[in-house]
Symmetry: none
Subunit: 402 residues, 2 copies
């Protein structure tokens, strides 16, 4: 985990930090003309906040690296995004509120369809209905039996997606995906990179061999492909590291899952940002750190919907006064990575950061955009430093050394 130094300096007190995270906030021009999404959006409230405070640009992970949501958020929360990186299976389990134990290995499952020769003909089983997924999982739970008293758990997510957890002693999780990512070839065999992981693959093969027989008469979803296999690991919590009582106001399973992994309490799912802010107001006295997550900016970026992303930013800006009215000691507005609509994908481009605090050194920047933030007082820094800056500006760090 980044920064034993910072951990050793943290002080528990009543000051409040808010991270307002617009997922995929960073963007860029389209067809080499015009401004980015944030540069285009009318954001009078964010502009005022920047003009009275400070800003900068944040590099997710390191120069040129495009992070997934996992590393993107671990960085935001002050964890070294490389060291903290973990298989998607564990994130899925956490997002489903499945309580993993130290004996567990988790995998994401795709229900898939094999042809009569055993080759993959549909990697998502025709995006099978969720109810069908549930029926198939139920059938497997009733009929698969692993040896040596090893347990398994199989939970439906949505459509073709599910979660498989194998629980036993001495299991490792360094195992390849069985999804070949191609059609017309058979699923890959799971292979373990070490003795503990090879032990796991024996039980995975038992599971898959039995499943193949049990599902043989299913027209769709007659096989399972495993991805993101990973052993559970326990992260030091935000309280253990930074003395933060943290609350996640996030609606999507992935972000709720990561928040849970770092020890946050999780708010009930809200309908929209307005009800998320209701939750912020109602829980204000109980926590010292609030993570508010907005997905719309990233979703529009991924869809190549420039105008939609602009609108999502403007809608957030319109509600910002309700957040600043809470008078947090440090308010940070940023993203976990860039998702330029022009790229329809996550990217490595630095993310604009606004930081409001009574202890912010005011810089000359007057508006919130990627290019304006180039002149900001925070300079350009890696995301793992963001939490340091938040803690410092909220008066939660002791002096280092005599």
């Amino acid at each position: 985990m980044a920064g034993d130094l910072i951990d050793s300096l943290c002080m528990e007190n009543d000051s409040k930090i808010i991270f307002l995270i617009l997922d995929g906030l960073g963007g860029m021009q389209v067809d080499n003309a015009g401004e980015s999404e944030l540069g285009t959006a009318k954001t009078p409230n964010m502009d005022k906040l920047v003009a009275e405070n400070t800003c900068g640009l944040m590099i997710p992970v390191e120069h040129g690296i495009t992070p997934g949501s996992g590393p993107g958020h671990f960085g935001l929360f002050g964890y070294d995004p490389v060291e903290a990186n973990i298989g998607r299976g564990v994130l899925s389990a956490s997002g489903l509120e499945f309580k993993l134990t130290e004996r567990d290995v988790a995998a994401r499952v795709n229900l898939a369809t094999l042809d009569s020769s055993g080759n993959v003909s549909d990697r998502r089983a025709g995006r099978i209905a969720t109810d069908e997924n549930k029926r198939i999982c139920q059938k497997l739970r009733e009929n698969v039996r692993l040896s040596d008293g090893v347990e398994f758990f199989l939970d439906t997510e949505k459509e073709h997606r599910a979660l498989l957890v194998v629980r036993g002693d001495g299991l490792g999780g360094t195992i390849n995906d069985t999804d070949p990512q191609l059609l017309g070839v058979p699923p890959l065999k799971p292979e373990g990179a070490d003795a503990a992981s090879q032990k796991t693959t024996r039980y995975l093969m038992e599971f898959l061999d039995q499943a193949k027989k049990i599902l043989a008469d299913e027209p769709q979803g007659n096989m399972l492909l495993l991805r993101g296999i990973a052993k559970h690991r326990r992260y030091p919590t935000l309280y253990e590291r930074f003395k933060l009582n943290a609350y996640a106001i996030a609606n999507y399973p992935m972000y709720r899952g990561i928040s849970r992994l770092v020890g946050m309490d999780i708010a009930p799912v809200s309908q929209n940002l307005s009800t998320q802010i209701d939750e912020l107001e109602n829980s204000w006295d109980k926590y010292s750190f609030f993570f508010m997550h907005i997905k719309e900016t990233d979703a529009c970026g991924e869809d190549g919907n420039f105008e939609g992303k602009v609108a999502a930013i403007e809608e957030t800006d319109a509600l910002l006064p309700r957040i600043t009215k809470m008078n947090p000691d440090a308010l940070i507005i940023t993203g976990d990575h860039s998702t330029p609509a022009a790229m329809r994908a996550h990217s490595w481009h630095p993310i604009p950061v606004a930081l409001a605090s009574k202890l912010a050194r005011r810089d000359p920047v007057k508006e919130f955009s990627e290019n304006a933030c180039l002149g900001g007082g925070l300079g350009m820094f890696e995301s793992k430093n963001l939490m340091n800056l938040a803690l410092a500006h909220a008066g939660k760090l002791a002096k280092f050394g005599a």
Copy 2:
């Protein structure tokens, strides 16, 4: 120690480097209005120097970390401030010109007063007079005897403060403070974190038990509280690392102490900056590196005296031509950390840096202030890189690699 690479490239030659350190130079606006102290000060000479050379901003230690004077200065001198950090006991010893050996463990002492139940009633013995301190230290030197031939040294600093050094074989220094930082409770027992440190605590307990009896009839200062206990360590010197013959023109014991630890010769105490510059002129031919330290900026910052800090900066600016007239190959003007008057304390905010050299790449910045330096050619960098830049601009670094 940071940077084996840089060490391996250093060349000894006649070029001269001056570090003009205004302690706590960085500042900020007050009540969210106006400029910082440096932004407010009229500094025509520094502005001219920046306009003709280059500048930037320096992060002491790392983002968000507020350093004490120790890490602040180790960073300036090219030492990793985290790795080089050391207990205040050793800094105090060095500041008192006590020559520690490899067999020594040093502690800062507060003379304190215990009540009849043995609880601390005054952690500073009523800020006892220095002469009384001397009398008490003398009494202890004459009467305390440690076993196993272990020696001790007890030297008065000022008022209630003193230095205790224990000298013996195989002593460790990872030991808690005995100062409970509270009244109405007894002093804490020193406890060692490892076998060598536990050996030290046996002698510290002998010392404290005997001292308690010997001082029993003292109305004030009938006990000693120990703080910042640390084993001596030898730092590679600036000559060993960078081939610099270094001279510290600094008046406060703390900074003289750190300078001595990294192998500088130490100038006699001067009355003011003008006499410090006399010393610079007089010693010019004998050294290749000059550390000039100005305390007033930090002292005013700590007192919340914005105008005083502005005045201290302006006084330094007025004398700058005498320094530039010496024609150093590299002149750096900066601080060891920020001390905004608005915060009355050290802070983590980046420190403005001016660098003058014939080899400086001229940037567009025309004045010396935190905000102007945001556009400087040196960008934003951690303090441990400052010495690299100084050595490079003074032509003291060989090319790396073929």
